[in-house]
């Protein structure tokens, strides 16, 4: 069976609640069958609206949403066959775990034996066998979340939507649930559309991530590409940590450019700059800059240590570099570590292909 690369398709979708402001602008998004795609963005960026339109609780103002080639904009939610996991679990508090899971099957008039079998399977999938007769209130937050996941999957939906499902859990539980959901996805191969504002969650779980801002998808790519190769300043800033220099392009040749800062010139990858004189923001990941580099690097400058914070596996060093007092370095902690002292002048170097000249902030 070949996978449909356009299993879910947002085709030029606009959404406005008040007729004045577009919350979602001209959204074009294809989701492949069996894919785990995450919509990531700050609150108010339109990601939850997209999810609600897909679930059928909101209708697009313009454009169409297609599921497996069929337009679904006019199909009510209960006929879409899309499973959904809600932020606050939305388990039915007056039903047992079994009844919660049986609900989608009962409304589909599935035979009793079949229901028992499917509920059993779904519960063992989230390792909650034996919890059938419990009420949701008797379960911990993590268990409730697992029941919610099982309930969204028990009727074999084509697509499962998850709306910040882990938002209410504590950090450790959230991390273990991330892996669990990822494994469930891998084992049953269902298409998952996941909404979160937590970037580490998105990076851990997804095949692809759509970064939303201001009603638009800023970048749609795999987690690694998103982190390594952000296409604009917003994505660079939103995903992971980021050091920036604002300057002006002084020279450009091929994919390399020189950016003139107030007191220096740095070499960088030209990503969204085209010509000399353009304003730009250069982005550099903290772990790509090295202290006292031993190898040859094409950007080496010296700066003064402003702050040293011990983080266990690494040390964060804040340096005043090229009149940017917020330049962050991540130094792995090892026995051969240099002594880092406040006020010390150190040399810092990075390769030009790690620095990306993006649109100005």
């Amino acid at each position: 069976m070949s996978k449909n690369p356009e299993f879910v398709k947002f085709d030029k979708v606009d959404k406005s609640y008040d007729g004045k402001v577009l919350v979602v602008k001209d959204l074009q998004l294809d989701i492949a069958e069996g894919e785990f795609i995450t919509m990531l963005g700050p609150s108010g960026s339109g990601k939850t609206t997209c999810l609600m339109m897909l679930a059928g609780f909101e209708t697009p103002t313009h454009g169409e949403i297609l599921l497996d080639g069929n337009i679904i904009s006019n199909i009510p939610p209960h006929k879409r066959g899309i499973g959904m996991v809600f932020q606050n679990y939305a388990l039915f508090p007056h039903m047992t775990v079994y009844e919660n899971l049986a609900f989608p099957l009962r409304v589909r008039k599935v035979e009793k034996d079949e229901i028992d079998k499917k509920v059993d399977k779904a519960l063992s999938m989230v390792s909650l066998s034996g919890f059938e007769t419990r009420m949701p209130a008797q379960l911990s937050g993590g268990q409730q979340q697992r029941v919610a996941v099982a309930r969204a999957l028990v009727f074999d939906p084509a697509v499962v939507l998850m709306d910040e499902p882990l938002g209410a859990l504590d950090k450790n539980l959230r991390e273990s649930m991330q892996y669990e959901i990822k494994h469930i996805h891998e084992s049953i191969g269902v298409t998952v559309v996941y909404v979160t504002h937590d970037q580490s969650e998105a990076l851990t779980m997804s095949n692809r991530i759509a970064v939303f801002n201001d009603g638009k998808v800023q970048q749609l790519s795999s987690p690694a590409e998103l982190y390594e190769k952000p296409v604009n300043s917003f994505v660079a800033e939103f995903i992971g940590e980021n050091n920036t220099f604002n300057g002006e392009v002084s020279d450009i040749s091929g994919d390399k450019c020189k950016v003139k800062l107030s007191n220096a010139e740095i070499l960088s990858n030209a990503i969204s700059v085209k010509s000399k004189g353009e304003k730009t923001t250069v982005s550099l990941r903290p772990e790509r800059a090295l202290i006292e580099p031993s190898e040859k690097m094409d950007n080496i400058f010296s700066g003064k240590i402003e702050e040293v914070i011990y983080h266990g596996d690494h040390t964060r060093v804040r340096v005043n570099l090229l009149s940017n007092p917020e330049f962050i370095l991540k130094v792995p902690n090892s026995t051969s570590n240099l002594e880092l002292k406040l006020g010390q002048e150190i040399k810092i170097g990075w390769n030009s292909y790690d620095a990306r000249a993006l649109d100005p902030k």
């Binding site: 009510p76 209960h78 879409r80 899309i82 039915f92 609900f103 409304v107 969204a152």
Partner: protein, 420 residues
């Protein structure tokens, strides 16, 4: 490890345990003193009056105290034939005392209630005694029997015997249109004189229908209140609560203005041509008026508990129901509705209990059909001054409510009630 635990002492050498208990006791006394005024208030205004009502409703001591010698002598009488001489003597002596104290009239009235015709024969006997026509050296039985032929009727003496116990359930029987027959068995009042049973049924019917109407109208309002954005829901809430701020009489009076035959509603119906001018429907002085006015007045008591329960139901539950494949109706019926049952229970119980004891509104807008049990209670309190009967009916109403509460508890469970 040693199993001994060293006693922990406070700095002044008192065991910590004792010291803690002492401090706790102080707090408990303080807490009790804080609620004491309320407890006292409840006792004085609630427990005590109900107890008083109960004793009053079964109290029949007056006549027991009036005829001590008679009842003493009657103990040996089997009640089948005319009583022996000593009963007549006892009655004569008791009655003489009453005449001296000028309380003989009360006895006549009391006995007359037990059996018609007593009033005149006791008065006749009184006149004979006052004129000293009774010769105490002769047989008193013979002389009393000569006063009136009814004194020779055994039924009248049986009636006196029935009043002997200091307590009686007669008032309760009367409330159910029953009475103690001459032979002491319980009998039904003649069919054309059964008024109380009709009233009980009517009271139940009106309370039941008002509850149903309140539920049907209150449920959607409460749902709207719980789901609307704040600024609209506040306004709607004020509209719901507005009746609370207006006097009950004013509201009832405005319903009278609206519903009467020449009233606003009828004028409107005529204006839009729904009914002819000469054919205006009667919406007042019948059950329609009672239902309309009482439903409006009791609606907030349904809306508020429903609202407070609905407010806690997350809107994502309905969404979950729909996304899992339930039609909007299934999602409502299987998910939303069961979650509102605690509110429904609280609201219905509240409205029903209030409606069952309602009395001003039905009396004003209900016309002849507006007489309910509470009106009857008020009537006996104020007009006939038969307080013991009023108390008996009040207690019957109270026990009826308790029975309903018990049934409700069996069906839904009182723990499930949510008032807010």
């Amino acid at each position: 490890m040693s199993s001994e635990t060293k006693q922990i002492l406070t700095t002044d050498g008192i065991p910590l345990e004792v010291s803690l208990k002492k401090a706790e006791k102080k707090n408990k006394i303080k807490a009790f003193l804080l609620v004491a005024p309320l407890l006292l208030f409840l006792f004085i205004t609630y427990v005590f009056p109900i107890g008083e009502m109960f004793t009053r409703s079964v109290d029949d001591k007056m006549i027991t105290n009036m005829l001590p010698k008679t009842f003493k002598a009657m103990e040996k009488w089997d009640g089948k034939e005319l009583p022996p001489e000593d009963v007549f003597t006892g009655f004569y002596l008791d009655y003489k005392v009453l005449i001296e104290n000028q309380t003989q009239g009360k006895l006549g009235q009391r006995l007359n209630k037990e059996k018609n015709g007593f009033n005149s024969i006791t008065k006749k006997l009184m006149r004979q005694i006052k004129r000293n026509k009774i010769d105490e050296s002769q047989s008193i039985k013979e002389q009393i029997m000569k006063v009136h032929k009814r004194w020779r009727d055994v039924e009248y003496w049986q009636a006196i015997k029935r009043t002997a116990p200091p307590y009686t359930m007669a008032k309760y029987l009367k409330g159910m249109d029953m009475y103690f027959a001459a032979d002491g068995s319980i009998a039904q009042v003649d069919e054309d004189r059964r008024i109380h049973r009709i009233l009980w049924l009517r009271t139940l019917e009106i309370a039941l229908f008002v509850t149903v109407f309140c539920f049907l109208m209150g449920y959607p309002i409460a749902h709207l209140l719980a789901t609307l954005p704040m600024k609209y829901s506040n306004l709607l809430m004020i509209c719901v609560l507005l009746p609370f701020w207006t006097s009950l009489l004013v509201r009832t009076a405005s319903w009278m203005i609206l519903l009467q035959q020449q009233g606003v509603v009828n004028d409107f119906f005529v204006m839009i041509g729904l009914v002819g001018d000469d054919n205006r429907p009667e919406m007042m002085y019948n059950k329609v008026g009672t239902y309309v006015a009482m439903t409006q007045i009791l609606l907030p008591f349904m809306v508020l508990p429903l609202y407070s329960v609905m407010k806690t139901i997350s809107p994502s539950l309905m969404r979950a129901g729909k996304s899992l494949g339930g039609t909007p109706f299934v999602a409502f019926w299987k998910v939303y509705f069961p979650l509102t049952i605690p509110g429904i229970g609280a609201g219905c119980l509240l409205v029903f209990i209030l409606a069952i004891g309602y009395y001003i509104t039905p009396a004003l807008v209900g016309g002849a059909s507006g007489t309910l049990i509470s009106n009857q209670i008020a009537y006996h309190m104020k007009t006939t001054l038969d307080w013991s009967f009023a108390s008996a009916m009040g207690l019957m109403l109270l026990s009826g409510v308790l029975v309903i509460y018990w049934i409700y508890n069996k069906l839904v469970g009182v723990d499930n009630i949510k008032l807010g």
